[in-house]
Amino acid sequence: MVGAGLAGLYASSLLQALGFGVRVVEARKRVGGRLRTLGEAPLHSEAGGNLIGPNYGRIIATAERLGVALQPPPRGLPLDYLIQGRTVLRDDWPTSPDNPLPEALHQVRPEQLSAALLKPSPLVTSYDWCSPELAATDVSVLDFLRRNDVPESAIALLESNLSYGDSLSTTSLLSMFRVQQGISRAMAFRRPVLEVRGGNQRLPEAMAASLNTPVELDKQVIGLHTRGDRVSAELKDGTVLDAEAVVITLPAPALRNVHFSPGLPEDQWQAIENVRYQKVTQAHYRLDAPTWKSAGRSGGWWTDGALGRIFVRPVNDGGPYLVTVWITGSACADTDALDDEAAAAFIDQRLRRLMPDAADGLQPMGLVRWQREPLNGGAWAIWQPGQTGAVFRALHRPQDRIFFAGEHTAYAHSGMEGAMESAERACLELARRFA
């Protein structure tokens, strides 16, 4: 098993339950991959996977089986807006002269704009988004908006804080319909979203502890070589491991650094090279008092500038609070060229300017830039127009004794539950040949 994120850990437990001997190698010095909790509970902050949908059957059952407690997270504070340098308080949005939207859309908040404009969706099943027929007619979100005569002011606002693309012109419309459908499917369960008590990373830690053999940390696979009826995994430290079969759960950017021999088929390698990953930069802070109240602010912010969105959530009623600056997509370019210290200073300076009353109280907890970590190369797979058909499918086509899993290979779910779903599929493919 290559990778000890959710997909690798879940696949390992499934294969062990079927009687396979499994060795798990993980390049990092910790398990969990894109689940990463900063700080010590209860003052901890999620830098990776955040919310567990009430429809995440595999995650919820796994937590239950391992005695890992799930709970609804405290409600985040509402957002005010900073648009082209001007503040619009939440309640003023519909009537503010600084609301740049045309009259008909004045009531729609920036964070709701995408759902309001991107419809009707052609998706019926949870996996229609990757149907080759629909993918063949897919367009970019920008093309769709232009065709529907959406005013440029609305388009400009939509370009900010993209979570599923770098720009509207490179974002698949189908992939956005998938996101919307995922939200409504979760809501259909009429139960609250969840998080792991003590931090989401506790779940992969418990999963790793439940395996028959410990996860081997700090072991990076750099090559997979298939010869006859064996696969050998070449590690960066020079060791070679020998296996009957391999499940590899790396995100596409990390797969690019693995040498396959024989090489993967051209279309599969192209898919691995071409699929892009969401840029997410986060700066985490702790704040002891609700300093924004005296200034009449709501606490959180949605900006069209360098700081992206700022999410504030209470740890307890009345404080302390966790503040996360969440910058996505092209806005990450401001800091991507800087080293960690300079990037943190860049964000810090602007945050203190935006929240002057909090300036003395903000205590930095860490900076995370997922796109700069070669072991994942971004937060999650994002899809360009047309990629959700053949490209998506090529990504996880088994090659002889090598099977592919991970969030980017899931059909019916995304994020954490997608990682788990993909593990079941890969294990089935493997079991068919080797059980």
Binding site: L14, A17, L18, N55, Y56, G57, R58, I60, A61, T62, V124, T125, S126, Y127, R185, A188, F189, R190, Y411, A412, H413, M420, E421, E424, R425, C427, L428, E429, A431, R432, R433, A435
Partner: protein
């Protein structure tokens, strides 16, 4: 209801499009298929707690949507389906097309003979994974 017609259509489609997809390797038994494709969301034992989906204990000949205290979708409750081998195969291979609006978000990964084997396993008396 139109559900039974869809079942027939789905089965016909499966036979046409997936004639002998399973390789010459040892076929996986119903229990293994259940473990790999359903167990996370469904209990199947003597004690029948709800997971995210309802328990599938003794499902044969039961009308859909009738496990006690499970908050089914209106779509499944009103589907008129009764669980037997053909309806289960149709459900396993395309639940969301068979009953649009169902809460079971499920992309089938089983090949036609596997779906049938799983349906046989589920309709056998008291299977226990």
């Amino acid at each position: 209801m139109s559900a039974s017609r869809t079942v027939i259509l789905t089965l016909a489609w499966l036979l046409v499009s997936n004639p002998c997809a399973v390789r010459a390797d040892t076929p996986l038994d119903g229990e293994t298929l259940f473990r790999l494709a359903c167990q996370a969301c469904h209990a199947l034992g003597p004690e029948t707690p709800h997971r995210i989906g309802p328990p599938l204990t003794n499902i044969a000949d039961k009308p859909a949507g009738t496990a006690t205290d499970y908050p089914y979708s209106a779509a499944l409750k009103q589907s008129g389906l009764v669980w037997n081998r053909p309806t289960l195969v149709a459900w396993i291979t395309g639940a969301e097309r068979l009953v649009p609006g169902t809460l079971m978000a499920h992309h089938n990964t089983l090949q036609a003979p596997e779906a049938l084997r799983l349906a046989e396993y589920l309709t056998r008396s008291a299977p226990r994974p």
